[in-house]
Structures are given as structure tokens and as C-alpha cells.
Symmetry: C7
Subunit: 92 residues, 7 copies
């Protein structure tokens, strides 16, 4: 299978754990090289994060399991990149 | 024939298979080096993806067959690049 | 004559042949190094493409003949660049 | 734990201490390499700053303690980046 | 005199000669290294082109004479750059 | 203390001294490497300048004293950067 | 005095002399390395130019004298940069 090198996820997260714990726990997963979590909306009980994860061979299911372990959930997948090199979306 | 080096496709995809499976299956095709799938719209039963595929010599028909095997369909072709080097659209 | 190194053409094309065939046929012309065709409008019977073509010494007339062979037509010329090096339009 | 390499914080700060003292005190924390504080809003009694902090292994709690020592508070966390390399949010 | 290295001209041109002939004829002038003609407006009898010309020592009068030989006219000068190196307008 | 490497100041300045004198006098301060003053508003008696100052170890108080010596005043501080390297604000 | 390395001037110029003569005459001044004149408004009797001048040690007064010799006048100064290196305005 072509390795997944970037995932951009829309994540709903309760206020606890905080964004830093959340990002570093994801960053601890085996194939994750880098994680950037941007807070895009703050509601009464949840935060919406856009989480960009890069690695050599990302596994969505272990990322999803970790996110759910952290009491959060993937609301939607915004972007998936895979292959032996990176290609940007020319319209973005 | 001048080899096709980039295709940007507007794809309608049912929610299953997921975007990651969809992108990696396309990424497994022989001449595909890199695939980036961006979700641009989510409706009740389908997702609209803008799929950017790069390779040395892409074959639209085998890509279309794979997309249809994945229960999805090419709604339209947004961009095609071909030749011995890449040229960007100066208006984009 | 100063060699033409880039042409950006507004092309009206019936739905058949498809954009990929159209771009690769243009890419097969002798002096064409790279072609990028972006679909800018889709109407009932025609597509409007913005076609960017680069090469060392492009010949508009052989490109126009090929476009007409493909049942399409040049609606307008958007940009022409020529000379021993490339210069960008500072307002674009 | 994956080291935190960038934090972007929304900070509410009384007018005293000034922005320069505030930024340099944060910059003095052990793992902080660089701090950029941008003033985004000035109200009667407080300033809202967007504070970007980079380092090899940032500790939010010692940063928060320092911010509170300076009579200010973290209103929200805008972005957290962690891992062995930096990844930018493609939508930003 | 400081040599002129870039001219950006607003040119009114009848539909004949075409943009390609027009650009290549300008590109044939002695001190012209590169010409990019962008079509900015098409009216019933004329096209408005923004023509960017670069060279080591451009001569406006020989360019104007060539433009008038081609039945076109300089409607206005949009930008002139001169000197031993290039400087961009920070507001553009 | 972490050295201040960039200050962006909003400055109100009477029409006299002129912007050039004003910028060069600031540029003469000991730790100032570079100063860029952009005029953002011109009123009847004052000009509003956005003044960007970079250096290895800037001292706000000596800059403020110089600004006041020049009959001007710091209206607000827009940005402060400090540390051993520069970090840009990702939202700017 | 910290040397002035860039001036951006708003200049009112009668239609005669033309923009090219105007720019090259400024470019002939001793410390001027590069001049870019952009026409920003054309009125019945005057043109408004934004003139960007770079050099190692620019002298506003000799530039102003030259501009007035050319029957034009400095309407306002938009930007002044000085120092041993260049710094860009982060808000521009």
C-alpha cells in the first residue's frame, strides 16, 4: 500500500485534556514525525482542532484509536496525502 | 504521446471506503508517485474530493477504473499537465 | 524572430475528445515541452480550458491546427512570452 | 513524549508590564529559543497578544506560570506543534 | 544615463497583427531580452495588452516606433525600472 | 535577558523632522542594525508611522528616548520579537 | 548617520518629461543603484508615481532637487529604510 505521509483531520475535543497533551500524545505514536494542532473553534464544551500529522507511513486507525483514548473524535478528514513524495493541491 | 505528469480530478465518493483507503489504493497504481486528496464538500451520502495525482506517466483510464472499483466516480477533470517538465498555470 | 516560450490560450473544446487526450496531443507537438490544461468552465456542449504551453520555440499556427484537428478552437490568447529568458507580468 | 516545538498563545495582559518586558521574560525561560508577541487588540485595561514561542522542548506549564507571574493569563491556545520536524497547517 | 531594464506598457492593438506576431516583433528589437504580453481587455476593434519588456538597456523610442509600425499605440506607461540592479515596488 | 531582535512601533510624529531624518536618527542608535519606517496615515499636524527596527539587542527605552527627542511619541507597540533566532507569527 | 538604503516616494509629475526620462534621470544620481517608477494615477495635467529608489547611501535632498529640476514634486514619503541591512515591514 502507498504509505500515507500526511493527514489533516478535523477533531472535536472536550476541553480536557488540553491541546498540548493532545498534540504530544499523538506525536508519540510510532510513525508520527510531526503534529500541528490549530484551534479553529471554541464552543462551550468542545474545541474544534485542525490537526496536521506527517510521517513516513501513517496509520489512521492507530491515530483514531489514540484520539478516542483522549476522549476526542475525528469529525472529518480534510486531506490525505500518500506516496513516495509530497504533492500539493494546486487550488489550496 | 507526451506523458501525463499531473491530474487534478473532482471525485464523488460514497462515505465508504474512507478517504484514506481511497487515496492509498490510488497511490498503489503502477505509475502513481504521489496522491493528495482534499475533501471539498460533504453531503449526506457522498463526499466530493479534489484528488491531485502526480507521476511520470499517468494513465487516466486505469485511474478511472480504480476509482470506479472503489465505488466512486470522476465528476470532472480540473487540470491535466503533461510533458517533459512541469508548467504552472500563471492565473492560478 | 524572438522564439515564443510560453502561450496561454483560452480554448473551447467539445466534451469529446477528453481533456487528457487533448493535452497530450498538444504535448506531442514538436516544440512543446510542457502543457497544463485547466478547466475553467463546463457548459452543456463545450468546456472552456485555459491551456498553458511552454517550449523553446513555440509555433502558434501548428498549435492552432492541432487544436482544430481536435475539434476545438482558440477563443482568445491570454498571454504570450518570448525571448531568451522568461519575464513575469508584475501585475499578475 | 514528543517535544513541543511551537506554541501560539492568545494572552490577556494588563498594560503593565509592557510588551517588551513580557516577551523578554518569556524568552528567558530555559527551553525557549524565540518569542514573537504581536499586539492584536488594545482595550482600556488589557492588551490581547498573540504570542508565538519556539524551542526544542517547550513546557506549557512553566510558560503559563511565568505568564501568570507577569500578571497576565493565557486566554486560549491557538496552535501547538510537536515532533522531530516542523509541519505547517496547509489551510493557514 | 542609467539603463532602463524593465518597461511595463499599456498598449492598444487592433486585432491584426495577432498577439504572437506583436510580441515576437518587439522581442526582435536589439536590446530586448524578454517580452511578456498579457491580454487584459478585448473590445470590438482593439485589444488592450499589458506588455512587460526586459533588457539590459531598453530604448522606449525604438520600442514605440516598432509598436506604431505594428499599427498599435502605447496608451500609457505603467512602470519603468532602471539601474544596475532590479528593485521591486514594495506595494505591488 | 533574552535579547530583543525586532520591534514594530506605531509612532506619532509631527511633520518636522521629516521621515528620513527620523529614520536615520533611530538607525544611529548603538544596537540598531536596520530601520524601516512606513507612513500609514497623514493628518494635519502629525504623521502615523509603523517603524520596524531590527538589531541584535534592542533597548526600547533608549529608542523611546530618541523618539521623544525627535518630538515624536510611541503610540503603541505592535510587535516584539526576542531570542536567539527569529520566529514569524503564523497568522500574519 | 545610518545610511538610507531605500526610499519610496509619492511623486506628482507633469506629463512632460515622460516617465522613462524621469526614472533614468533619477537613476543617474550618484548614490542611486536602482529606481522603479510605477504609475498609480493619471490626471489631466499630472501623473502620480510611486518611486522606489535603492542605493547604499541615498540623499533625499539631492533626490528632491533632481525631482524638482524635472518639474515634479514629492507629494509624500511612503517609506524610508536605513541601516547596514534591509528589514521588511511585517504588515506590508
Amino acid at each position: 500500500m502507498a504509505p500515507v505521509t500526511r493527514l489533516v483531520l478535523d477533531v472535536l475535543k472536550p476541553h480536557d485534556p488540553g491541546v498540548v497533551s493532545f498534540a504530544t500524545q499523538l506525536g508519540d505514536l510510532e510513525d508520527v514525525d510531526a503534529t500541528t494542532a490549530t484551534v479553529v473553534e471554541v464552543d462551550e464544551t468542545v474545541k474544534t482542532l485542525r490537526v496536521t500529522i506527517e510521517g513516513d507511513d501513517l496509520d489512521l486507525e492507530s491515530i483514531r484509536a489514540e484520539i478516542e483514548d483522549l476522549s476526542a473524535s475525528i469529525h472529518s478528514i480534510d486531506q490525505v496525502a500518500c506516496g513516495s513524495r509530497a504533492v500539493d493541491d494546486p487550488w489550496l
